[in-house]
């Protein structure tokens, strides 16, 4: 047993992720053919994937923050002279509709940037809320075990054996459309992933020598959880959060598409896409272009999550 490099008893290896912040080290230069999945891009390509997807995400964030300031979007305004104009049209008021206009003469690009604001806000807020609930549940469950662990994990099992979109649709239909409600609904259907990842981290970490050492020095439960265990669990939690962010944005768009997401005053991409459905034959751009925008963002989060996971924690592939 090579404790100098492994640092983990072999029995734990299935559960333990490499310690947080463990730099590129061995991950960067795998021995050829050691891993059955060898050829998953790592090293330089892995870094390129991370940088590339981060750049795309950054563009969206900038567009979401700055866009609505530059291109005013008023959800209730109508301009009948400018309705259903194809992309690249010069509108009567002199502005250029790069992505065309919708059925009430609104600029689609302006709507998309406003939608990016809504979608990203909802996504991040959901992750924070679901993360808080999930990580707390996972910490408590993994650290204390016992009946609390049993109850929480049974609850997680039940939720996983239930299609989450159904739960979201049902709760959203009762609560009614609002940004806050969407965040609540999506958090309820997403806490489980965080709880499971955190729990498996805690289970592995609490047996580690450094935690024992801290305990021997007289650290209390609170100190052990917040100072010893939680910091070492952060890396996998962040990886999961990145992957989940794409899923949450998709789920929000689906709810809004069904009319159960954000209200008409704060239109998100899903709603713009739904509105364009009635005009498919004469104005294809209303549905199609926001959809491409949404797909690129979700794909970027997917690529970023995959790359981060391969780099920091390949074990999470099965989650």
């Amino acid at each position: 047993m090579d404790r100098t490099t492994g640092q983990v008893p072999p029995t734990d290896q299935a559960l333990v992720a490499p310690p947080a912040g463990d730099p590129a080290g061995p991950v960067d230069t795998p021995p050829p053919d050691a891993d059955p999945l060898a050829g998953r891009p790592r090293g330089t390509i892995g870094r390129l994937r991370i940088i590339g997807s981060l750049v795309v995400v950054a563009c969206y964030v900038v567009a979401a923050v700055v866009g609505p300031i530059l291109l005013q979007y008023d959800p209730v305004a109508t301009d009948l002279k400018a309705r259903l104009q194809p992309p690249g049209t010069r509108l009567p008021d002199g502005s250029l509709a790069v992505f065309g206009t919708d059925q009430v003469g609104q600029d689609v690009l302006a709507q998309m940037m406003q939608g990016a604001r809504v979608s990203i806000t909802v996504g991040v807020a959901t992750l924070v809320l679901a993360g808080l609930i999930g990580v707390t549940a996972g910490l408590v469950s993994g650290y204390f075990g016992g009946w609390l662990d049993a109850v929480l994990m049974r609850l997680a099992d039940v939720q996983l054996t239930f299609p989450s979109i159904l739960l979201a649709i049902f709760i959203a239909s009762i609560l009614g459309p609002s940004v806050v409600n969407v965040v609540i609904v999506l958090s309820i259907s997403n806490w489980v992933t965080f709880a499971r990842v955190t729990r498996s981290q805690v289970l592995a970490l609490k047996e580690r020598d450094y935690v024992d050492a801290t305990r021997t020095l007289g650290a209390g439960t609170w100190h052990l959880i917040t100072r010893s265990i939680l910091p070492a669990s952060i890396a996998p939690i962040l990886v999961v959060a990145t992957v989940e962010l794409g899923h949450v944005i998709l789920a929000e768009a689906s709810l809004s598409f069904l009319g159960l997401g954000t209200p008409a005053s704060t239109p998100s991409w899903g709603m713009t896409i739904a509105n364009g459905r009635d005009y498919l034959s004469n104005a294809w751009w209303i549905s199609t272009i926001p959809g491409i925008g949404l797909a690129i963002l979700v794909i970027s989060f997917g690529v970023l999550g995959d790359a981060l996971r391969d780099r920091f924690d390949p074990r999470l592939r099965s989650m």
Binding site: P36, F162, I165, L166, I174, L260, I273
Partner: protein, 307 residues
């Protein structure tokens, strides 16, 4: 095996009970009067009073819960106020259409997913493999409702090849079927590919190679079989998810299944039908999971002994 069967059945019942309880709690604990919520703002005072009485809203919560449970066990969700018919009947009428769509999607996904996964594994790290991986990433990340719309635009509106919606023959099922199948195809590709690459280092594969069999025969005859075992479980779970995902796809393609009934009933605030539809889909989902668990117990004895 009997103990395993009992354990899985009890868990299935437990999950169903959980779903029923969640539906009950959400309807009761949301701020406001549930009767008012169900009937909407144009309801008269008498109608509200009648429904309050029928739901037993003036009685204590545990009593209401008991009555609700017995109603659910008897599949009695009351009448749909839109159609003036039993809510459960409406749902069971629509259920076959949804199952049909899910079956078509599953068949498409199995055919495409497994073959693409095998192709990727045979050509690992080459261009074909990369293209298949990109395809898997795309089909997983693109919003399904948007893909559906693009399919309608391209295949129905522009090329006039396939019908865009409504119920009918197989040609009307192709577009919704593929749309619904896409995320599942992505999962199958990854599972088949990694499953194959996992077993290629096993001894029996070495033996097959040592016998002088061609790589193709080694993979197709010896490796694929073992890689297929996890696909049974995933197919079961994903089939259930397809029932849920069908809610969105049915709306896009105007497919007259339970999902579309659910969304229509939500916008009409026909909550008796909403409850019946949700619990019906959940029930189907749980039942399929149970069947898969049992099948899996037969296929792989390690599972039933392990837990």
């Amino acid at each position: 095996m009997t103990a395993y069967l009992i354990r899985r059945t009890l868990f299935a019942v437990f999950v169903l009970w959980g779903a029923v309880t969640i539906v009950f709690l959400v309807l009761r604990l949301v701020p406001g009067d549930p009767a008012q919520l169900i009937l909407g703002s144009d309801a008269t005072q008498e109608e509200i009073a009648q429904l309050r009485d029928q739901m037993g809203l003036d009685r204590p919560l545990p009593v209401q819960y008991g009555k609700y449970l017995s109603d659910v066990v008897n599949l009695d969700f009351g009448d749909s106020y839109r159609y003036h018919r039993d809510a459960m009947d409406l749902v069971t009428e629509r259920f076959p259409a949804t199952v049909q769509l899910a079956v078509v999607a599953t068949v498409i996904a199995l055919l495409l997913g497994i073959s693409l996964g095998v192709v990727a594994a045979l050509r690992v790290n080459r261009l074909t493999d990369r293209l298949v991986s990109v395809f898997a990433l795309l089909s997983q990340s693109m919003p399904s409702f948007w893909i559906g719309i693009v399919f309608i635009l391209v295949f129905a509106r522009q090329l006039h090849l396939l019908a865009s919606g409504g119920k009918g023959g197989l040609d009307r099922m192709i577009l919704p079927g593929i749309t619904l199948a896409l995320p599942f195809i992505a999962i199958l590709i990854r599972l088949t590919r990694s499953g194959l690459l996992d077993v290629v280092h096993e001894n029996y594969i070495q033996t097959a190679r040592a016998k002088g069999l061609s790589e193709r025969v080694v993979i197709l005859r010896h490796a694929v079989r073992n890689a297929l075992i996890p696909i049974v479980t995933v197919t079961g779970i994903e089939f259930g998810k397809l029932l849920g995902g069908a809610v969105i796809i049915e709306t896009v393609f105007a497919w007259p299944g339970v999902g579309r009934l659910l969304i229509d009933s939500i916008s009409a605030r026909d909550y008796n039908v909403v409850q019946a539809a949700i619990l019906m889909i959940a029930g189907g989902f749980v039942l399929i999971n149970l069947v898969v668990d049992i099948l899996y117990g037969y296929l792989d004895p390690r599972i039933r002994l392990g837990r």
